[in-house]
């Protein structure tokens, strides 16, 4: 067991997560019942297999790895909302995932979506109303704000999501690939905002495929491979050995 430092904000111990993936099998009714129970067949995917990891105070931890290596699952596990197969997840407070896109309604206007997204994030109505102009201005929507969201370009939509999602900064923040949104101008603005957030939040965990971004933002990097932590440490060296492994197997994503 690892020695515990006093400034730990999130601690995962031997965390395993399994997903059930239901098979789309060709088996007919007869086979279905001949197995003696009415239950569909499924495969178990071992998304995380025994991950032990710590996040420290005022630290930005990067998570890298190939597609399907368990990065997003790791973030979900950190929120404590994902049922674990084994292991423990502990933290100083509950980490929050950056993102509200799933709460928004494309038929409604940008302004109404700020309200809905804000409420989903736990703001009160008054709190949102008082920040409404600030959020809309940051998203750069100007006169489009009262049009239905489905008329927005994907860039405008991404900006609005980002603006709502970053309206509140939790003590422990988890970011999943949210960084590269919008055009060059907004990207500059959003990466500046991410820097601010990283400074303001107690701890940040970032998942990204963008190695430049990871090296720029992070104090430490964890490399996930097939549900296991392959390496944790100083960004330059972990990223280098990850890239080396990728070039060996020939698929860098």
């Amino acid at each position: 067991m690892t020695a515990l430092r006093p400034d730990v904000t999130v601690q995962l111990q031997d965390v395993a997560v399994n997903y059930r993936v239901y098979e789309d099998s060709a088996g007919g009714l007869k086979e279905h019942f001949s197995r003696g129970r009415v239950r569909r067949r499924y495969q178990t995917v071992r998304a995380l297999r025994g991950v032990t990891l710590e996040v420290h105070e005022s630290e930005t931890l990067g998570v890298i790895g190939a597609n399907g290596s368990g990065k997003s699952t790791l973030l979900s596990a950190m929120t404590g909302l994902l049922p674990l197969k084994s292991g423990t997840v502990r933290g100083r407070s509950r980490p929050a995932l950056l993102g509200v896109s799933s709460a928004l309604r494309s038929a409604l206007s940008g302004r109404r979506n700020v309200l809905i997204g804000g409420l989903a994030l736990g703001f009160t109505r008054d709190e949102i109303e008082s920040r409404m102009d600030e959020i809309i201005e940051f998203a750069g929507l100007s006169d489009a704000v009262d049009r239905p969201m489905r008329t927005y370009s994907s860039g405008m939509r991404a900006r609005l999501h980002f603006a709502i999602a970053t309206a509140r900064i939790p003590e422990i923040l988890l970011i999943d690939e949210a960084l590269a949104v919008g055009d060059a101008e907004f990207r500059a603005r959003s990466s500046q905002r991410i820097d601010e957030i990283c400074a303001e939040a107690g701890s940040v965990v970032v998942v990204s495929h963008n190695m430049t971004e990871i090296e720029h933002l992070c104090d430490r990097v964890a490399w996930l491979d097939d549900g296991e932590v392959k390496a944790v440490g100083e960004p330059g060296s972990v990223v280098a050995s990850y890239l080396e492994a990728c070039s060996r197997t020939g698929h860098h994503s």
């Binding site: 730990v8 909302l81 049922p83 423990t88 407070s93 993102g99 809905i116 409420l119 239905p148």
Partner: protein, 285 residues
Amino acid sequence: MDDATPAPSGGQAGDPGLIDLAAPPSTASYLKEVWRRREFAVVVPAQDLRAQNMDTALGQLWHLVNPALLVGVYFFIFGVVLDTRRGVDNFLGFLIVGIVLFHLFQRVLQDASVCIVRNLGLIRSIQFPRLLLPVAAVNGQTFAFIPALCVALLSLLVTGERPSLRWLLLPVVLAALYVFNLGAALVVAQIGSSVRDLQRLLPHLLRLLFYASGVIFSVDAFISSEFWRTAFAVNPVYDLITCARWCLIGTEVDAAVVIGLTVWCMALPVIGVFNFRRVEGRLGS
């Protein structure tokens, strides 16, 4: 319920202040959080209701036109074409109360059965008490019910009903209706989240309930056996409709019906909350 408070994990060395994130909060602090976030369950369904008719020519007027058509069709068939009485003085009024209430109940159950499945993305990405989802489903249908209630009251006046002192008790009946809907929605949302087949089954169960609740016929006029009339009081939807009719069109109500309704309204929300909490941790998977 003190078992659920996230306890500082004792035993492990040197990590005071770390809480077990996978442990569910206590019921008291859970319900407090639901209350703190109540605006979510009010604003979101209201906005969804708005979005529903945005592309139509009549727009938001549909919230009024739709119940008017619902009542209008029954008016036409039973008032003009069939002209039945079936042992009730004001059969049209009798019908309107039953139809409008059952329609609300039906929509609440349908929405509740899919409220978890439809919001899986939200559940996976944002931390909030999932209980808000079935509550939002009930609220949304309750908002849609308000114009329907106005149409129903107006239609009652047209059928010759005059407001009596009993109408003053309507808020009590409506409160019982809301509380019962909440409880039912919680139970159905929980079942619907694990058994997706419920969505397919529900229309048929509702049809069965429609006939078991005396929506379009008077149970009292059809069934003479005292025992079986009392047995109907076990059905909460029958109880609600019967109480609403007593209030609005002056039909009779048995003590068994009032007792049945009271028991349902007190028990179902409590059962619903505890049952929902029991499975809440697994809802995202």
